[in-house]
């Protein structure tokens, strides 16, 4: 018998399984994250290798990649973000629906990387909130997978009320991101 995942604690009986809502939803969200690969440069090629058959990101539930922010939950920013690209990235982040997570892959997305220049944004966390940072230049596919697994941990354990809480709203305001009221 193949074990696909850990079952959360709950009451089991014949033909039914009862658990708390946030655990069930957390399990569902964590194992079906649909990513938006915002691949700009070299890290994008390592991402293509991660999607390939050797490292296979699809077994973590990320089978359906889409380039549309309306239908994805995970924004994977891979590669250098120049200041010219900043507003585009912010717009893509705004267009995503809650709950959404951001994975910053590569040194350039985390902090500007080796490009300490006038035209490169020194880290995407200057314009959008980031959940997990994956360092590397470029990171190996195993590291990108580890980053995704940490996002899965976050998704699994997130409280259902987090996105409506005051703390979250204050954080979004600090980035000048408007929340629908």
């Amino acid at each position: 018998m193949v074990k696909i995942g850990e079952a959360p604690e709950g009451i089991e009986g014949q033909g039914f399984f009862a658990t708390s809502l946030d655990k069930a939803i957390g399990l569902a969200r964590a194992n079906s994250l649909w990513p938006l690969p915002f691949a700009t440069s070299c890290c994008g090629i390592e991402f293509m290798a991660t999607m390939g058959a050797n490292y296979d990101l699809a077994r973590f539930g990320s089978e359906r990649l889409a380039f549309t922010p309306r239908q994805t939950d995970l924004l994977m920013v891979m590669g250098t973000i120049a200041k010219k690209m900043g507003p585009v990235l912010k717009q893509v982040y705004d267009q995503m629906a809650e709950p959404k997570w951001v994975l910053s892959v590569g040194a350039c997305a985390c902090s500007g990387g080796i490009f300490d220049t006038y035209s490169v944004l020194q880290g995407i966390d200057r314009i959008i909130p980031v959940d997990v940072y994956v360092p590397g230049c470029p990171p190996r596919p195993e590291q990108i997978i580890e980053g995704l697994m940490k996002i899965q941990e976050l998704a699994k354990n997130e409280s259902l009320r987090r996105r409506n809480s005051d703390e979250y709203k204050k954080m979004l305001e600090s980035y000048n991101i408007e929340t629908a009221e």
Partner: protein
């Protein structure tokens, strides 16, 4: 690699004719013929080389800034290539800081379009007759020309990196 091309002398003669003997030529240690000319002879010279001597390929076009060379601070460097005879030449035009204008090569080589825009973006050199001389790589709102020597590499307003640790 360091031997000059056999056609070098005929090109030197052609340059002398096309620029009324006002251009200077120099064969450097790497075998490349360097031609220094002025803005009013540039088009005539390049047209002559393209039509009569087979230099139909514009390999590269870039700018440079030499702030210590008063009166000729900027320069535009063209690399032309004759694919049949396999001959490369380098043409250079000096520009003073108060008159950064030079005729465009877009009518001769369509590929010069973006290369001239890039040179304008980086150095502020105006190419007269260019169909669309706007910034290409930097943001349109940028108000200075970043590759000039007086400007720093880094964005000075950043606060997470301490210049002293980076040896600046």
């Amino acid at each position: 690699m360091t031997t000059a091309h056999p056609n070098t002398q005929s090109i030197v003669d052609a340059v002398a004719i096309a620029t009324e003997n006002l251009a200077s030529t120099n064969l450097d240690d790497y075998g490349m013929l360097n031609i220094l000319t002025s803005t009013n002879h540039l088009i005539g010279l390049v047209q002559n080389l393209k039509d009569n001597h087979g230099f139909i390929y514009l390999t590269d076009l870039c700018g440079s800034h030499y702030p210590e060379r008063i009166g000729a601070e900027f320069e535009v460097v063209y690399h032309l290539h004759n694919l049949v005879e396999n001959h490369r030449v380098r043409i250079r035009v000096h520009l003073p800081e108060n008159n950064l204008s030079i005729p465009t090569l877009v009518n001769l080589y369509s590929g010069a379009n973006w290369m001239e825009r890039e040179t304008f973006d980086f150095y502020g050199i105006q190419f007269e007759g260019h169909p669309n001389l706007k910034r290409i790589l930097n943001m349109d709102e940028m108000d200075y020309h970043p590759l000039r020597k007086q400007y720093a590499l880094e964005d000075e307003t950043r606060d997470d990196k301490n210049n002293t640790f980076f040896g600046r």
